[in-house]
Amino acid sequence: MDIDVLVVATIARALAFATPLLWAALGEVIAERSGVVNLGVEGMMALGAVTGFAVAFTTGDVWWGLAAAGLAGMLGSLLHAFVAITLRADAYVSGLSLTMLGLGLSALIGRAWVGRPLPDPMRTIDVPWLRELPLLGPMLFQGQYVLTYAALLAAVVAWAMLFHTRGGLVLRSVGENPTAVDAAGLHVRPVRYAAVLIGGLLAGIGGGYLSLAYRPSWGEGMVNGLGWIALALAIFAMWHPLRVIVAGLLFGACFTLAFRLQTVFPPELLTMLPYVFTVLALVFTAWRRGRLAFGAPEALGRAYLRGER
């Protein structure tokens, strides 16, 4: 295969594969920026996938399905928010439980939908005019789903909101130093709730992409670890929405190249790379500790109780 064909195909497929990762990882970045770790991404994506499929199948409209997928992910995250924020239980345990609950519940709900194709799945689109561009056209503007472009847009919006609005400042402050925010007369819990719920919404949409577009059907376990990759992605992007795009494309490229270069390169090495990157990112953040641009939120994973330090 010619090298330019390989590059074009790799980037095009990296985008398609990365789309659910972008949605879920963006959600996780927002939740973790507020200081709440949510390891339930895999479960929320599974809930989104099954609910989205069931609703799209029943109503015949993928967009209703997508809305339901987001809502299902949000409901899952509400449980996590209640346990981790209101009850101040261990967020790591609560998130893991959400994953297991989501996987089990989705399998149960999904029984009736196994082996049934979606009559009217989401269609791919070619972006008018832009699709004619040489190289860039087939690379970015042909045969993708609207949800892919929406994910890129969501990343930009999340970046603008987090770093250029007062609300974003409050959210990040809650993740860095909730005591200070509290002392300033702002409420910590509602902010954290909102961040976790947005995270659930986005993870649910990521799951919906899987069952409505990427592979329009429901099968138990169909998320198959993408939720965990999204978690790694949020870390690798060092909690920055714009870096999520770059990191997502890199993860996606590794994944698709594992098949394209299989004849010349051991695929295990390529599928392992995202995790190697993530470990490197962790090392990097530890090394640059204290520099806000790269570090984890200071209060990440710690429940907030007023008066407690």
Binding site: M1, V5, L6, A9, R13, F17, A107, G110, R111, V114, G115, R116, P117, T124, Y214, R215, P216, S217, G219, E220, G221, M222, N224, L226, F255, T256, A258, F259, R260, Q262, T263, P267, E268
Partner: protein, 386 residues
């Protein structure tokens, strides 16, 4: 009248004795199935559970139960629990259950164990396999005729003999129809990986593949191929509903054919917990344990019938024959017991040019089970190539 009743009663009492004490009543049997995946996978475990359901339909009142998603290394505690619950026949349906089942079988010498896809047996452990090699060969004939580029894609699970045998049979079929056809293989290194199947199919399409077969537990390859209108083949269960216009044929399994035979032989006393060391089912088309078709009863999708009838070959065995008829003839030949035709019959070379089978020589079952070589027209990586 009274006499008749007495006679009947006496006969009824004597009858079991006449057949030996090994005979067992249906009510005494309690069969447990262990699946490696969820029954909702619409693939391997789903197909096994359809087999279980058909078994119960054949023997109303037969008590069965199943446990899904059993981790391969932790099969023993599951067996302990099931036997504690009174089960006396345990069927494990994954290759990786082997060690655990054999260890448990040693501890429970009175329980009958069955191991699907397994290779090791014991006095109370039999092995069984419904194998697709003949069906893949038939699908290869179809694929060879339908491919316009001459490149046929194969998305494969693991490079183990079972999968290699299926790829080779498929490639041999394709080559019989189109001597220039090649089968491009990409490996997932997983039985279940929908995202991987999606990207592997996309990669194969970039390489020019325009017909697709696969070993993976979801209909993903079929759905992805259908986005470009490319033909593909059902795997395990009927996947025709996922793309009614492009699923050309496929491999379908009827595990119940074997299960029914097993239960009949346990009931009539042929099989006991002492004499199973040589009981190894390796069943194909002839025994009805597998079927070729896009869905049961549909050997070839009518959408492709005209095209396959129009493709006429000068065949060394049948003379002038259309691919459609060739598939039918080969199916007939392989549906007899013993089969009249074996796809792995020489002259066959591996892709390094070594002669594997000389003219007229066929593979034995052991050779089928241990197959490592790659057929002449197979492309792509091949771990463990001799």
């Amino acid at each position: 009248m009274k006499h008749a009743a007495r006679l009947a009663l006496a006969l009824a009492l004597l009858l079991p004795l006449g057949f030996g004490s090994a005979q067992r009543a249906l009510e005494d049997l309690k069969i447990a199935f262990l699946y490696v995946g969820p029954v909702g996978d619409y693939g391997f475990s789903y197909a096994h559970d359809l087999g279980r359901q058909a078994l119960v339909e054949r023997f109303p009142g037969l008590e069965t139960t199943f446990v899904e998603s059993v981790p391969e290394a932790e099969v023993e505690p599951f067996v302990d629990q099931l036997i504690a619950d009174g089960h006396n026949v345990i069927i494990g349906t994954s290759f990786g259950f082997g060690d655990g089942l054999l260890a448990a079988a040693e501890r429970y010498p009175d329980v009958i164990f069955g191991h699907a896809t397994g290779i090791e047996r014991a006095p109370n452990v039999f092995t069984f396999m419904a194998d697709f090699w003949q069906v893949y060969y038939l699908n290869g004939l179809v694929a060879g005729a339908l491919s316009e580029t001459g490149t046929i894609g194969y998305v494969a699970a693991f490079p183990i003999p079972e999968v290699k045998r299926h790829i080779n049979a498929f490639a041999i079929g394709a080559r019989e129809v189109d001597p220039d056809a090649v089968v491009e293989v990409r490996w997932l290194y997983a039985w279940f990986d929908p995202a991987g199947a999606q990207e592997a199919t996309q990669a194969l399409m970039s390489e020019g593949a325009d017909v697709f077969a696969f070993t993976e537990d979801t209909p993903t390859v079929i759905q992805v191929a259908a986005t470009r209108g490319f033909p593909s083949f059902s795997h395990y269960a009927s996947m025709l509903p996922f793309s009614p216009e492009t699923v050309a044929s496929g491999q379908l399994v009827n595990w119940e054919a074997i299960l029914i035979d097993v239960v009949e032989k346990i009931l009539d006393g042929t099989y006991t917990a002492d004499n199973l060391a040589d009981v190894d089912y390796f069943w194909g088309l002839g025994e009805g344990s597998v079927e070729a078709g896009a869905e049961p009863g549909m050997l070839i999708n009518p959408v492709y019938e005209a095209q396959l009838r129009a493709e006429v070959l000068d065949h060394p065995e049948f003379g002038e024959i259309s691919v459609y008829e060739l598939v039918e003839r080969r199916l007939e030949q392989m549906s007899t017991l013993p089969p009249e035709f074996e796809p792995f019959t020489g002259p066959l070379r591996d892709r390094q040019g070594n002669l594997v089978y000389a003219d007229g020589v066929s593979a034995t079952i052991d050779e089928l089970l241990g197959m490592e070589w790659a057929a002449e027209n197979v492309r792509g990586p091949w771990d463990g190539e001799p």
